[in-house]
Structures are given as C-alpha cells and as structure tokens.
C-alpha cells in the first residue's frame, strides 16, 4: 500500500477520535437535568393551597415567574413582599407569579402566606418532585418563563423589586 491510500483512512480514524473527545468534554460540562436559560420549562401539575390543581401548560400565553421557596428560608421571606408588589403591578399585563413551596405541610404554608397577604397562586410540592425536576439547589430560585413556555432567565438567590421588574419586562415583551 502507498501513502496516498492510507491518509484518508487515518483522517477518518482521527476524526472519529476527535468526535469522542468533544463528546467527552461536552458531557463532563453538561450537568444532567439542570433547567437552563433557553430550555423549554418542563411541564408539571401541582395542587394549589386551595386544593385545586394547576398545570403549568395552562398558563401558556402568559408570562410566568416561577418562584421556589420555603418558610424556613430567610431570603425567600424577604423577597415575598417584592414579588407580591410586582405581581399586583403586572398581572393585568399578563404576568402570573407562581410560588412553589418546597415540601412543607399546608398548615405551615398557610401560616406563612396568610399574614403576608400573598395573592398569587401558591403550589404545594409535597414530595419535592418538581423541585427535583427543576434541579433546585439553593433557594429562592426563580425562573422567568415567556408566553411560549421558554425559560428566558433564571435567578438563584434573593431579588429586589428592580431586578424583578427588569426580568419581568423581558418575558412580557
């Protein structure tokens, strides 16, 4: 055999190996299950505090601020009034704030929600199923979902009014 006939074979072998390399590096980076900006928000259905189920897909066509929280989380507490204010300000323009409580009993959720006068829907993720689905780490974590159901932004940690307003503007278009 001569050199000319061998080179294409070698290029092919090197090509395959290069693909393997790229794939390996890519998979070491891509964390499995994480819901990232640009992804479609995974659909789910949860009970609301009042006992009626709410499906995320039912909110298609509206801008959704999905906020994961718990009563024992201080920044979540601090954030709630701002969320309520922004909800009041933009709900007529098509914003829905959805608070997902992580794994607490309705009694505790009630004793948290009532004194704060929260009016946006509160969902009970009793078995942490949706929390795991969205791979929630530290809370609060908020997802900004546009009318098409796409995650436009994601914030881990406490937000203030200005930040919320800024992000909400992006999903209200």
């Amino acid at each position: 055999m001569n050199k000319q006939s061998r080179t294409p074979i070698r290029i092919a072998i090197l090509g395959v190996l290069l693909v393997a390399l790229v794939f390996a590096i890519y998979s070491s980076y891509a964390k499995s299950g994480e819901v990232e900006i640009g992804d479609a928000a995974p659909n789910f259905s949860l009970m609301q505090l009042d006992g009626t189920p709410l499906k995320l897909s039912d909110l298609q066509g509206k801008a959704v601020l999905l906020n994961f929280w718990a009563s024992w989380c201080d920044p979540c507490k601090a954030e709630m009034p701002d969320l309520e204010k922004e909800y009041g300000k933009w709900k007529d323009k098509g914003l829905v704030v959805v608070g997902v409580n992580i794994g607490e009993t309705p009694l505790i959720v009630n004793q948290f929600v009532e004194p704060r006068g929260l009016t946006f829907p509160i969902l009970l993720d009793a078995k942490n199923e949706i929390t795991k689905l969205y791979n929630i780490g530290p809370i609060p974590t908020s997802f900004f979902i546009d009318a098409e159901g796409k995650v436009v932004d994601k914030v881990v940690g406490q937000m203030n009014e200005a930040i919320i307003e800024n992000k909400v503007a992006k999903i209200l278009r």
Binding site: N2, L14, L17, W72, P106, I130, L133
Partner: protein, 572 residues
C-alpha cells in the same frame, strides 16, 4: 511517476520492502545500514532493534503533513507514558484534600465550597480550590487526558499491529546470516563432517517439537516457534481498555445512566426522579449483633456493631408519569428488600441501601389533662410532624386546633417564633383547645419538651406520652446500561495482559550456511528461559556451539563493546 520506486526499498534477496523497514521482510537482513559492515562485531552492534520485527511503521516513516504529525504524536509510546505519568500525578493531587463530592459538611453554594477549603485547609486549601483540584476528576482537562490516552491506545495499536501481523504471518525461516548474528542470543560453529544439515535439522526439529515448538524448515534452515499468540497480548489488552473507556464514555448518552438518591420515611411512597417509578418503604430496620454472636469478647465501651440495614420496598409504576406532580396512578410492580451489598432490582433499575437513620421523630403524643377536674385525662392528641391535622376531636365537645407549627423552632431577629429548617428538629406547636360548653378557648404552647399556657390559671395542660418514631431510609437509585460493556472490556483486558505477560513468544533458528552452523534465539521476554531451552538443544545434540547472551543493557544504539562481552555467558 513511478510510485513504487519512491516508496520501496529493494533488499539483496530481491524482496521489495516499504520505506522505513529496518529488517528485510523476507530475509531479515538489516536495511538501514549506511555503510557496509566491516566484521561481525560491528554488524551486531549496529543491528536494529527486534521490536515489531523491524517492520516499517507509518509513524516512523512519514512526518510531513499535519495528519502525519498528529498520528505520530499519538502513536508514540513516549508520549503515551507521559500521559500516564501526568494522569498519575493528577490523581495523586486529587486525593490531597477531599473532592467536592466527599466534603463531609453541607455546602449548598459554590461560595460555601470555596469557603470550606479555605477554612479547613488554609492557604493550601485556597490554592487547591482555585486550581480546580476540588473537582479534578470531572474537570475538562482530566477528561481530555483520559480521552487522549484512549486515542493513544487506538493509534498506537493500529500503527504497530498491522506491520506486526504482516511480519509474524510470514516467519523468516531462512534468514540472512547478518540477522542471526544480530540476535541477542546466538552461537555458531564450523561445520565438520559429523555436522550434517540433513541429520541435525530433523533431530533438532524433533527436540523442539518435544518442547512445544512449531517447526518450519526451508532448505538448510530450521525455525522453531512457540507461543506466537502472546505477541497479540498487548493489542488485545489495549482493545479491552478501549472498550472499557468507550463504555464509560457512552454512559453520558441520554438514558444510559441514572444516578439519583431518594430519602423515604417508613410507610411513605415517593417518586423516583428520572424514572416512571414510585417506591414505598414498607419498613426499614437496623439489626445489631448480640454479644453471643461475637467471635470473641469485645470491649465496645457501650457501643454496638450493626449487623444489617434493610428496607422492605414496594415498587410501583406511575401511569401518570407524563405529567410530573399530577396525582399518581400507581400499579404495583414488585415487592422486595434492599440490604447493603444486595440491592433491590427491577429490570435495569437498582435501589441500593445506602443510608438508614433509625428512631426519627414522626409524631408527638399527648394526653389532654383537665387540671380543674382533678387532673382528669380527657383524651389523646397526636401531632404529626410532617402533616399535622389542623383540628382534631379529643373528647366529647372538646377539640384541639393547631394554630401555629414551627418544625425547627427558634426566635428570629425580630424576636418572633420561626423555623430554622424544614426538618422537625425542635418542633413547636401552638394549640387552641375549644370546649363546646361555652368556656372561652384556651391556648397552649408545646416547646422544647414543656407546655406553656396563655393563662396563669389554666384549665388544660398536656401530659407528654411516648412519641412515634420511624426509620428513615436513603436509597441510591441507579441505572447503568453500560455495565456489561465495561465488564466485557475488563475481561478482554485481563485476557490480553495474561496472554502477553504469562507466555513468551520464543523463536530458535538452526541455520546452515556455507561452512558454518548458526544458532540464534529470540524472545520478547524471559531470556534466561529461552537460553535454557537452547542449551537443552545444544547439549542434547552435542553441538559444538558457544552460546552468547548479550547483557540486558538498555537497547540503545551505542552499546559499549566491553560490557556485553563481560557479562556474556559461557556455555560448556
């Protein structure tokens, strides 16, 4: 243009060899000698290395284009060893401090991780974190290193195995004398009348056969060959490693690998993330060894030794799994147990008994006592810590309502009751007792094991009863479809190393040329074993041959003449 003229080198014997051939493919005569050998000694010292049988290897021949250069890079054993050494050092560094996944305290955010290393290990820890060693084995450069080792395995093998295959499938039965004189183990004798090729060769062939050699004869030349297959060992073990690495790589494909964890309280049924399944912990238990089970008396200082951790599990399929969070529709699939070392399995899903926390608080039990009626016990109250009932009837006309519940009670900055975590580590309940007889409701607070009333002269109080406990089980939820491939690769690797290391490819030449008899031997390892076999041949046949075995000095181009002579072995 005549391509063959450029790419081939003709040997004396007439065989056309590819460029880069060190020893003629047909007769074994060295091809790359720039000058004519003047005398035997020099011929031997300039004799090329016998590795890969002196065949032309792509990587050693061309290095002009980029493809050539990359190919040559990965086909170099030197580079491969460097990659092994770098991996080795990286691994060692990765164990200096614990990896992120093994940090013993909870570190929810990246900042906590950074702080952990700095706080625990000081400046060194800070550097360790800054360099990314806390997540070394998942880092892009470590993964790249492993894949590059894989690439090197593929290319090294291809570069060598093809020429080696060509060489070994055509054994050099009748080699050139310079080939025989160039061998590490060799001897020669002047042919006398009683040394007749027609007599000696069949006799030698018979002896070699007895020792397990396969023999080839061509004219006045005899070749005995044994365990040629061991030469394939390295390639087979490399193939095994490649399969292994591919297996680990393919685990990143969607659906191939699942790694989750589920905490389940006794009696609870929870969804298993990433699967359509739900698992129920019917019961979870820890057994301890009793003292009479000890093989000898032990002083445990009041401690105990666990004997068994076990969870009885029922696995369900959720027919409603398409919509997460929706009311599940469960069909029972399998009932079984998980203990350490013996997972619960269903199809390719395995649940591993990983953690078991016994005696966790589930519910507080009280008796409601009427202090005004001579401490009369009115009835029982149960306060479930995970889903307390808002209102319960205690006795006729008397009910208890939970007005506040803080699972992990503390007083916050504003001095108000609050909860530190979601776990019932320090439950606090505020209760309201209503009586249908019209007396105003009374409030009671249970906190830190005691009861406080809102009235100085309270009617009701709580008698504390034994609480309800449960065992909390932690299950690892795993699926690994690549396991068979990983095991298969390991087995192939082991077969390969065993072939390559437990057998040796040995060849012995007995060759008559002109007035001389040449004997030469070659093996890829265990020269002393080979010498013994050649000695066996020469002593049994009374051949007047003096065997020489070159010293095991590094096979460098410039060997010092004196040294090899000094250690050359004598044979009588």
């Amino acid at each position: 243009m005549d391509q063959t003229d450029l790419d081939q080198v003709k040997c004396e014997c007439g065989h056309a060899n590819p460029v880069g051939t060190l020893l003629c493919e047909s007769c074994g005569k060295p091809l790359d000698q720039s000058e004519e050998p003047d005398g035997e000694k020099q011929a031997r010292h300039e004799f090329p290395d016998m590795r890969y049988e002196g065949m032309a290897r792509r990587s050693q021949t061309y290095n002009k284009s980029i493809v050539d250069r990359i190919w040559n890079f990965f086909s170099s054993v030197k580079i491969a060893v460097w990659m092994i050494v770098i991996t080795l050092i990286a691994c060692a560094l990765g164990t200096v401090f614990p990896q992120e996944q093994y940090i013993p305290v909870p570190v929810p955010t990246e900042a906590d991780v950074a702080q952990f290393y700095e706080k625990t290990y000081g400046v060194l820890g800070k550097i360790y974190y800054a360099l990314g060693f806390h997540n070394l084995f998942d880092s892009w450069w470590f993964v790249t290193l492993l894949v590059m080792i894989g690439m090197s395995l593929v290319i090294c093998s291809l570069d060598r195995v093809i020429p080696l295959y060509k060489a070994l499938s055509k054994p050099r039965v009748n080699p050139h004398e310079s080939f025989l004189k160039g061998q590490k183990l060799r001897g020669e004798a002047v042919v006398t009348d009683d040394l007749d090729a027609r007599k000696v060769l069949p006799e030698a062939a018979a002896l070699l056969k007895k020792k397990g050699y396969r023999t080839y004869q061509e004219g006045t030349s005899l070749l005995g060959e044994k365990a040629r297959f061991s030469r394939w060992g390295p390639y087979i073990n490399h193939i095994g490693l490649i399969i292994f690495l591919l297996g680990t790589l393919m685990r990143s494909l969607p659906g191939m690998y699942l790694n989750e964890f589920a905490w389940i309280r006794e009696g609870e049924t929870v969804p298993l993330k990433g699967t359509p399944y739900y698992a129920k912990s019917v019961s979870a238990k820890v057994d301890y060894y009793s003292e009479d089970e000890f093989p000898e008396k032990l002083d445990l200082r009041g401690g105990v030794i666990a004997k068994n951790y076990q969870t009885d599990i029922i696995l369900y399929r959720n027919e409603n799994a398409d919509l997460p969070g929706a009311e599940p529709k469960l069909t029972k699939l399998k009932e079984g147990i998980a203990t350490v070392n013996h997972p619960f399995t269903y199809e390719d899903l395995s649940l591993f008994q990983s953690s078991l926390l016994p005696m966790q608080l589930r519910a507080l039990n009280f008796t409601l006592v009427d202090q005004k009626a001579g401490n009369k016990e009115l009835g029982k109250i149960k306060l479930d810590l995970f889903s307390p009932v808002a209102e319960q009837k205690v006795a006729d006309g008397i009910s208890v309502r939970v007005i506040a519940y803080f699972p992990d009670f503390y007083l916050n900055k504003e001095g108000k009751p609050d909860t530190k975590t979601g776990q019932p580590n320090n439950p606090m309940f505020a209760l309201e007792i209503r009586n249908a007889d019209g007396t105003p409701p009374e409030k009671l607070v249970y906190v830190q094991g005691g009861t406080i009333s809102d009235k100085a002269d309270a009617r009701y109080t709580l008698g504390i009863e034994k609480p309800d406990f449960y065992n909390l089980t932690g299950l690892m939820v795993r699926k690994d479809k690549m396991m068979p491939m990983i095991y298969f690769g390991s087995v192939i690797f082991l077969i390969g190393v065993a072939m390559g290391l437990y057998w040796q490819h040995r060849r012995i030449w007995v060759h008559f040329a002109g007035d001389r008899l040449y004997i030469a031997g070659h093996t890829n390892k265990n020269w002393f074993g080979l010498r013994k076999e050649v000695e066996f041949l020469t002593t049994r046949m009374n051949l007047p041959v003096q065997l020489v075995l070159d010293s095991a000095k590094p096979a460098k181009k410039k060997r010092e003449t004196g040294e090899s002579k000094e250690t050359a072995k004598q044979n009588g």
